[in-house]
Subunit: 213 residues, 2 copies
């Protein structure tokens, strides 16, 4: 369950436009972990793998490398392949939820995603994914950046537990989207959103709308 | 000449990190207009073209279309081609200037660029351009977004005269980089940076550093 939203920790005085909700892609909209595991098993059927319930830590390649030397590079080979990002399945309910979110009054949604270091395929495939699942109009909502602290939103929904960058105090509150790799992670007070299906995301957004309004 | 920087119109109270300078790519770092004209002449030698001194208005395809029906589509064909963005020449002095800028104390530089609607080649080629001209470390400074108003910087150096988006009052001051298409444009009080070669960019940055500090 996502924590209930009761404490209004901050009131935004900069109301000049809408509530800006930044939504990460991998691990929040697209099921990177599931598809990586499936593709890995297919590509390396004779190597050990890490089932989702055993995943720990944000960087999948680091956990594989600890399991056995060389397996980290196998992971990288899997996600660097042509077609990997294009074919990611959706996190259950994510598409419907962000479509609904974008139609809420006084809300602007942006898809805020980091590219791989190996950039040959991932960016245009992320665009193709968004076009296919959300439609052409959504392409203008994509922001590709390694540093999310400099994106000016009120909320960032992201499965990476620690997000740092040039701004020490970003404008957003980070809501940690629950993923297999972060279930045991100490979030140091950050709140979670556990899924897109039980409706708690609506409560969260309504709370933020009150703060901004 | 760039206007002299004397009026400190705004003092930033959010000093928590460095001065964040957002630098556009096309028209500021990369010579989109020159290369488009050259490539156009090569691809359509028997069609009329618009020399740089006659360019007016931000969207090159619109001016070509006005010149003769169908020429707008030709322009699009030119810049949508594989290799176009990768092969853009640098705006004189831009590479040296942003390298120097990034090494200034208390300054963070980000390259803030919009993708084409036709996204098949442009993003990875922009990355390849940055890697080639500025080095691998600069890849993490790239921000790709259609809406630059939501990027949280203090200064945006961009040749597009009117930049709008979800935020009505972006955090940055827009400094208009002079380009063939905007020399006659009314900037409604916005200041210009004319080039990277006469050193005025340093005065501009020093002024902003004082405001932020």
């Amino acid at each position: 369950m996502a924590h209930r939203v009761s404490n209004f920790r901050k009131h935004y005085s900069d109301r000049q436009s809408n509530l800006r909700v930044l939504v990460d892609m991998d691990g929040v909209l697209c099921d990177f972990e599931l598809y990586l595991l499936e593709s890995y098993k297919q590509k390396y059927p004779n190597e050990p793998c890490i089932e989702l319930q055993d995943r720990e830590g944000f960087w999948v390649k680091d956990q594989y490398e600890k399991l056995k030397e060389g397996l980290g590079a196998n992971c990288v080979n899997v996600h660097n392949c042509k077609g990997f990002f294009k074919n990611l399945p959706e996190i259950p309910g994510s598409i419907e939820a962000v479509k609904e979110l974008s139609q809420m009054e006084n809300v602007d949604v942006f898809l805020c995603t980091s590219p791989l270091n190996y950039y040959k395929y991932c960016m245009q495939e992320k665009y193709a994914w968004v076009e296919k699942h959300l439609g052409k109009n959504w392409l203008e909502k994509i922001i590709i950046t390694k540093d999310k602290t400099v994106v000016n939103g009120h909320v960032l929904i992201d499965d990476k537990p620690n997000i740092t960058g040039a701004m020490l105090q970003p404008s957003w509150e980070h809501i940690v989207f629950t993923s297999c790799h972060n279930t045991g992670t100490n979030l140091h007070g950050k709140r979670r959103l556990d899924n897109w299906t039980d409706g708690t995301w609506r409560d969260l957004i309504e709370e933020f709308k009150k703060r901004v309004g």
